[in-house]
């Protein structure tokens, strides 16, 4: 869809465009629409001055006895001319400076930015006043002054955009191919920068219109032109307030508001389209929380966490999308369970839903998560808070973002301890935090450092120390070693496994690495497309994989004991949530799929004690 079509469909954009359209029509056809010619000189009597609105003068008359409505129509011309011409100048200067500063960088770039910074700290209106006062008040001068002084915001925006685009890999690729600077700018950089510049243009226009009316109001407008600011200036300085002539004051003011509001709306709509910001956040109220009065069927004594038939949905423009569809598995006390699968198979979503930490827009319309005889999915938030971290903790993926950058690591551990046990003094909690940091191999001395002072591996260790703060019963670790170096990965996994065993915690390890699961877990749950493909003890599943997906996955990972073995690939890609296949989720990529797989979803077949898989090929085994 073209951008102007999208703009028209955007509610804010459409209203803004209509508002601007009205002004444009009025400006063009002012001589036809206006009942009087405000530029014509006429004989005026005292009665004509500040005459109330009547049939002859719909908006009354002004201090010179002229028709306000007519002046209003003609005033639109000056506003639009100044707005568009000044904005053009500002954009040309700002765009050029921004692109050069951003793309070339170096001494030239920083020099240009210094100049920009200088103009940013000089108060714009004061400077405009001074310059117009010196060079003289003509429409041309006003346009030039507003335009030449209005480029700084554009320059900053374009520079930062260009900088970002310049660092992007496809620009690097173009450079590696051997493309010159100009072709890269034209083909790769400009197309990315222009849309945002368009949004900025609209804002620059509205600022220019505001500037013009302000200058005119302060008596620095072009005296030969009728503009809205000028009308206000005359009315205000010539007694409209004491005469009570609101009609001479309010219409021109509202006209300015009308134009600026219209442009601002269009600008915001464009910004919305080209640079969608995060609209939602974690502290929004959870939606679709179900109520439940009866207690769930308790799990067996040795089960720490029981996930039953869990369903997770996400809101989308085309209706709810099912990300997790009926997942069930148990985590026994002190046991570690590996949750594996390709990216987008729903493994992280399952565990976030189980801990009620789904991102906004996600909800859990079905299933239960039983922990200590309570269903977590329906537990009121304040009761759930009691369980968090003291009994259920999580090690997040990418510890850089999971730790608050402006608070020390020790402080963040202390907070976790004290929020659940306020009998502990701050210093006692800090002592505990230091112990924990020592335990994970960071050293107690680094408690007062900030996350950015840690290396990636150290941050992940700090995250583990944080998770251990209240000695939870269940710990969920989401890809704890992704993006770390091989040796650091081994260090961190080793630490996690050892501490877990020593403390006797149950753990759910989310990972895409079947090798890691084999080395550190008791059970494995293989997920594909939001459902469980196979689950069982690690021994069973790795020795006798039943589901074709599990088998292929095991063939796709390297085995250092057999370096000569060729790895296989599973052709195709995992299904998208909005294009889930009607039958078995894996059928489109399965080499053994037959007709039934494409139309019907297989149930779970029990293969052995605690070992089950969902595939029609296993039907002879006992169905659940």
């Amino acid at each position: 869809m073209s951008w102007y079509r999208r703009l028209w469909l955007h509610p804010l954009g459409r209203v803004g465009l209509v508002m601007l359209g009205v002004v444009l029509v009025v400006a063009i056809f002012a001589p036809l629409l206006a009942p009087y010619d405000p530029y014509a000189s006429a004989r005026v009597t005292v009665d004509d001055i500040y005459a109330r609105p009547t049939g002859a003068h719909l908006l009354g008359t002004d201090d010179a006895g002229k028709d306000v409505l007519s002046s209003l129509f003609y005033g639109a011309r000056v506003s639009l001319i100044v707005g568009f011409s000044a904005a053009t100048i500002a954009l040309l200067i700002g765009g050029t400076v921004g692109i050069i500063a951003g793309y070339r960088g170096g001494k030239l770039g920083s020099g240009l930015m210094r100049i920009t910074d200088f103009f940013l700290v000089v108060p714009e209106l004061a400077l405009q006043i001074v310059i117009v006062a010196i060079v003289g008040q003509s429409l041309r001068n006003i346009i030039l002054v507003i335009g030449v002084l209005g480029w700084t915001t554009t320059a900053r925006l374009v520079r930062s955009q260009t900088l970002t685009v310049r660092e992007r890999k496809f620009v690097e690729r173009a450079r590696a191919i051997g493309a010159g600077d100009l072709p890269i700018l034209i083909r790769h950089v400009l197309p990315q920068v222009l849309p945002l510049m368009l949004a900025n243009t609209v804002l620059v226009i509205s600022l220019a219109i505001l500037s013009e009316s302000t200058l005119a109001f302060l008596g620095l407008g072009d005296p030969t032109q009728i503009s809205w600011g000028q009308m206000l200036n005359f009315a205000f300085s010539r007694g409209a307030v004491s005469a009570g002539a609101w009609w001479a004051l309010v219409p021109p003011g509202l006209a300015i508001v009308w134009v600026v509001l219209g442009t601002t709306m269009v600008g915001n709509a464009l910004e919305d389209m080209f640079n969608p910001r995060v609209g939602r956040h974690h502290l929004e109220k959870e939606r679709g929380l179900r109520l439940r009065i009866d207690a769930p069927v308790p799990a067996a004594n040795n089960i720490a966490l029981s996930i039953r038939n869990l369903v997770v949905e996400f809101e989308s423009e085309s209706g709810p999308l099912t990300a997790v569809d009926g997942v069930s598995f148990d985590v026994a006390n002190g046991q570690s369970v590996g949750l594996v699968g390709e990216s987008g198979c729903g493994k992280t979503t399952t565990m976030l839903a189980a801990l009620r930490l789904l991102p906004p827009g996600g909800s859990c319309p079905g299933g239960e998560v039983v922990f200590d005889g309570i269903d977590l999915t329906t537990l009121p938030e304040d009761e759930l808070r009691e369980l968090r971290w003291t009994r259920l903790a999580m090690v997040f993926q990418g510890a850089m973002n999971a730790l608050n950058p402006v608070r020390t690591v020790g402080d963040q551990i202390v907070e976790a301890i004290r929020v659940h046990d306020n009998s502990q003094s701050r210093s006692a909690a800090m002592g505990r935090a230091r112990e924990l940091l020592e335990l994970v191999g960071i050293g107690a001395g680094r408690a007062d450092e900030f996350p950015h002072q840690f290396s990636g591996g150290m941050r992940q260790r700090a995250m583990i120390a944080l998770a251990l703060a209240c000695e939870p019963e269940v710990i969920v670790a989401d890809e704890p070693t992704t993006a770390l170096d091989v040796m650091i990965q081994a260090q961190v996994m080793n630490l996690l496994v050892e501490i877990r065993r020593r403390m006797g915690m149950a753990m759910v390890l989310i990972t895409h690495d079947l090798g890691v699961v084999a080395e550190s877990c008791d059970r494995v749950v293989v997920m594909y497309g939001g459902v469980i493909a196979e689950q069982g003890t690690v021994d069973e599943v790795y020795s006798h994989p039943q589901h074709p997906y599990t088998r292929l996955l095991l063939e796709a990972i390297p085995d250092m004991d057999r370096p000569e073995r060729a790895l296989i690939a599973i052709p195709g890609a995992p299904p998208r949530l909005d294009e889930l296949p009607p039958g078995c989720r894996f059928a489109p990529r399965c080499p053994q799929a037959f007709d039934r797989c494409h139309s019907e979803r297989p149930g779970m077949s029990i293969i052995g004690p605690g070992h089950e898989a969902s595939c029609f090929l296993l039907e002879e085994s006992v169905r659940v």
Binding site: F170, G178, R187, D485, M487, I557, A566, A569
Partner: protein
């Protein structure tokens, strides 16, 4: 074996550390970061070689040296008969045509606003390599089909966001091979892709070498998957190649303690089989402070006194297999 197309001889590349006003006032000497410190290897047409190491080991700098994106501080780098150290702009531009690159992130390395056809045709247009549109179309489609995007006509009109990660990486590869380069440098070609499709991309890179006689240099941190697809492996630590040899030799008979440690921590995908793991403590030191003697000795589990003072030379253990360690004997 044919003549090597890439010859790297004792290449060094250092970056000066920024000196602050305080440093100059206190007469602190200018320091430098030796990212690559005396690296030598050759690469022949049709051969796949992997450079393996952790972050900060100098593998990316090595790749940039071979690409001609950086010039060596000392040493020689010759690609396709051209000395990259002393080449002028025009020669470098020609070299760009002979050396192509595949990037790590297939989601980022394709311009989202261009069609697959335009992305693949871009190198041809930049180098004005085709006489007319028909020839361009033919070569783009050939490349797409070779990269496994068949039928080419259907894929040409798509935009990157309509493709899966694996298919995007195929587009990147198609764009790299359209100029029929002599050398292809692949920087972590599969690390952003799911395990299930890594093999097919690596197989495709292998096919480029065997069928198009291109020399492929793969840069990776992943000794287990990526390196296994190479003919030879070079293991780097702190700017130096510590072990180099035919892949199977290195995997089954690693000699350098660092290589042995790297191999030992690769998880074994079976619970019944356990191997002794050598987990090195600490992190790779800052390349501006390379330890004296053997650069690996502070972390080496088997270091002896001599390692603290002697920087070991490369020792040949078998034909084509060398390791730089005092404890390794011929």
């Amino acid at each position: 074996m044919s003549e090597p197309v890439v010859i790297v001889k004792n290449a060094t590349r250092s970056f000066p550390r920024h000196r602050t006003i305080g440093d100059i006032l206190t007469r602190r000497p200018a320091t430098e970061v030796k990212a690559v410190d005396g690296v030598s290897f050759t690469l022949s047409p049709g051969e796949v070689m992997a450079v393996v190491g952790e972050s900060g080991c100098g593998k990316t700098t090595t790749a940039n040296l071979v690409m001609g994106l950086l010039t060596p501080t000392s040493g020689e780098i010759e690609v396709d008969g051209l000395d990259l150290g002393g080449a002028n702009r025009a020669a470098l531009r020609e070299a760009r045509r002979r050396i192509q690159m595949v990037f790590q992130d297939p989601y980022e390395s394709l311009n989202p606003r261009m069609t697959v056809y335009d992305i693949v045709a871009e190198p041809l247009r930049v180098h004005k390599a085709t006489a007319n549109r028909a020839e361009e179309k033919m070569r783009v489609e050939q490349s797409l089909e070779f990269a496994g995007l068949r039928p080419a006509a259907r894929f040409g009109g798509l935009r990157p966001h309509e493709l899966s990660g694996g298919m995007r990486q195929r587009v990147v590869i198609a764009g790299a091979l359209v100029l029929e380069p002599a050398v292809l440098v692949a920087d972590e070609p599969v690390s952003m892709l799911d395990v299930s499709i890594r093999a097919e991309i690596l197989n495709l890179l292998g096919a480029l070498a065997t069928e198009k006689n291109i020399a492929v240099l793969m840069i990776t941190h992943d000794l287990s998957t990526v390196a296994a697809y190479a003919d030879r492996v070079a293991v780097m630590y702190l700017g130096r190649i510590v072990e180099l040899g035919p892949t199977l030799d290195v995997m089954t008979d690693a000699r350098h303690p660092y290589t042995q440690a790297l191999l030992s921590v690769v998880p074994v995908p079976h619970p019944d089989r356990r191997r002794p793991r050598v987990i090195l403590s600490g992190e790779t030191p800052d390349p501006s402070r390379i330890p004296p003697g053997c650069r690996f000795h502070p972390r080496c589990p088997v270091a002896v006194a001599a390692c603290e003072s002697t920087d070991p030379a490369d020792v040949q253990v078998s034909p084509g297999h060398t390791a730089a360690c005092l404890l390794v004997t011929e």
